[in-house]
Chain length 200, copies 2
């Protein structure tokens, strides 16, 4: 065996020992609360990728899209094909700067939260995706303490995924896994429009 | 109308004007090269969420999973249900630290790249997801210049999504959109095992 291959094997053996020990220590199986935040791409798409994984494992998924909804996105068009595996609910008012009516936004957000709460109380849902919920919290359309109470009260094995830039610190505090998506570069700045398939 | 609602409307109007101008300026429609990198969660799941979006818009998707493949993931179980909409290919050797045989890894990675190249030359694929390709590049299982040449040579309207930590600078340079997923906190550190639905 050549030298580079031997060094590779040695390094990999040490790496494997470390990882194996970590895996052995992480032995709890429980539903996790995941938050995807930051200004970069991939917050919502990661939520829908997890929905796909959950459905692959036979879990039922509930989705509520806050803020979005005026235009049908690829994820909506796709997920509505599986009504028995995925319950899809969109707030349906478009982005807030399309409506510019705060009272109407609040009423719509509350309605959407009622739907979210129904999923969060139903153990038949293995995962609940709350897309762009952070935006509704940022604009104080919903009370963060009420939202957190409902999230923490969900069935023990249920996963919850919250997306949107500017996640409130109170939510980050109680979450199990938090990722910040940061922009390294974005096609939009180079004059490329939001593309179907990648952005919506 | 109350003061807070009026201020909200004013702020939203200004925001909308800025965003509308940006949208008008970004008028190119073209396939984009997206790279998800960093140590945080959401790189692969975002890739699969984009695959879902693309399928929702009626695009055919090609997936090659580098590195992964010893165990069936949720995304594989799910996507294999739609062979006409998604061609799924896994390198099939598990993580490199399971095999610890560099020469075999290289042979398998090359085989996987041949599959990737076939997707990248076929305009009937609207999106190609190259999951964990960055890891194969990091270990120099594949030549970064060869990979970039094939990526840039793809059909004009085809999207390509590359995931994995440690994306090489040469790839970041040529990509349209690059996101770094950074860890704010991770459930694994609190002793929670990788959960089906969220991690795999």
């Amino acid at each position: 065996m050549s030298d580079i291959n031997e060094r590779h094997r040695d390094r990999m053996e040490r790496k494997k020992a470390i990882i194996d020990a970590k895996i052995a220590a992480a032995d709890k199986n429980i539903g996790v609360l995941i938050v995807n935040t930051g200004n970069g791409k991939g917050k919502s798409s990661s939520g829908f990728g997890m929905a796909m994984r959950a459905m692959g494992h036979g879990m039922k998924v509930g989705v509520v899209q806050f803020i979005k909804g005026a235009m049908s996105t690829g994820e909506e068009l796709f997920l509505r094909r599986f009504p028995e595996e995925c319950s899809f609910h969109a707030m349906g008012e478009g982005y807030t700067w399309e409506t510019q009516d705060r009272e109407r936004d609040i009423a719509k957000a509350r309605e959407a939260w009622e739907q979210a709460r129904a999923f969060l109380r139903d153990p038949s849902y293995g995962m609940v995706v709350l897309d762009e919920l952070n935006i509704a919290l940022k604009y104080r359309y919903l009370d963060v303490h009420e939202v957190i109470a409902d999230l923490l009260d969900r069935p023990e094995m249920q996963h919850a995924v919250v997306t949107g830039r500017a996640a409130p610190p109170e939510l980050i505090e109680v979450a199990d896994t938090v990722t910040e998506m940061t922009v390294v570069k974005h096609a939009f700045k180079a004059g490329i429009a939001a593309q179907p398939g990648t952005e919506w």
